[in-house]
Point group: C2
Chain length 178, copies 2
């Protein structure tokens, strides 16, 4: 046996919401990275792994939705925060449920801030064995405008990083969407 | 179960010889990357994985050793090629033996050329699920002079890439050595 009985391999998976309008759900690249981790790494050995889902919420991510809202009292902001929290929990619920189905242990948590900075900070704090990050697989021209979390993590995260690109057949109409 | 019965995950591991003088043996970063793959990915599920060892020999890698040699006939060059071949086989033997011990299937082969180019070319040809590359973990200043195969592969290899840095306690006296 390679290393039977050792502590489980701790895989941190950075997940985010889809940018495509509609009911809140996980982004295409998050789901792809998660499914790849199950298929290619965890396989039929769920007890060997723990998945750690980190969702970083960008404070002004929902700016466009809020354009028509009127903020007149502290309660209005509380409503906004509650909605953010619900969306984040809904996202984590998807991944936690899927882990439960396949029998792999997991934990999920939400942080606010700049995703690339927060992910690297959490790696430093949590010390996972591997960080898995989905990416849209954009060309160099498109990348200039949208930035890439995965490239930053490859350079700065203090653990081995696997970047999983979207499959071409999963590319949405606008490739910048996810 | 996550994905029981699916085809084994094919992990390509790029391996090279140590730059430290003495009996030919695997570099520190190659051994580290291999051991990490066994400990953290394969674990106690050897039947779920196939390891593919690619060793790229740089044609003039042994230039210094050959400085004192005299080449006067085709036989002299044949002797050099035979020696290269033996060293390459010795290197692969180490990894294949270790795989045999832990019960994981493997294949190994040797190519000649520029390692970063050949690795990416072989990824295109072989379609592994993951490429694992060891790296010395040098600072930005040292990297300028030695180049890094891992950074090139991160950008250009057509599959997910995991870069495994050497542990600080394994760093040789001269960190450019490996």
């Amino acid at each position: 046996m390679a290393e039977s009985g050792g502590e489980a391999t701790r895989i941190m998976v950075a997940v985010n919401e889809s940018s495509i309008k509609g009911y809140p759900h996980a982004s295409i690249s998050s789901r792809g990275a998660f499914q790849w981790t199950l298929n290619k790494i965890v396989r039929d050995n769920p007890s060997g792994f723990i998945l750690l889902f980190l969702h970083v919420q960008v404070p002004d991510e929902d700016g466009f939705d809020d354009m028509d809202s009127i903020y007149a009292s502290p309660e209005d902001f509380k409503g906004m925060k509650d909605r953010d929290k619900k969306r984040g929990l809904h996202l984590l619920e998807y991944f936690v449920n899927r882990c439960h189905e396949v029998g792999v242990s997991c934990e999920g948590w939400i942080k606010k801030g700049d995703p690339k900075e927060v992910i690297c900070h959490e790696v430093k704090r949590i010390h996972p064995d591997i960080l898995v990050v989905g990416c849209r697989g954009l060309g160099p021209f498109q990348r200039v405008f949208v930035g890439t979390v995965s490239e930053f993590c490859q350079k700065h995260a203090e653990c081995p990083v696997i970047t999983i690109k979207r499959k071409p057949e999963e590319m949405p109409q606008d490739p910048v969407d996810d």
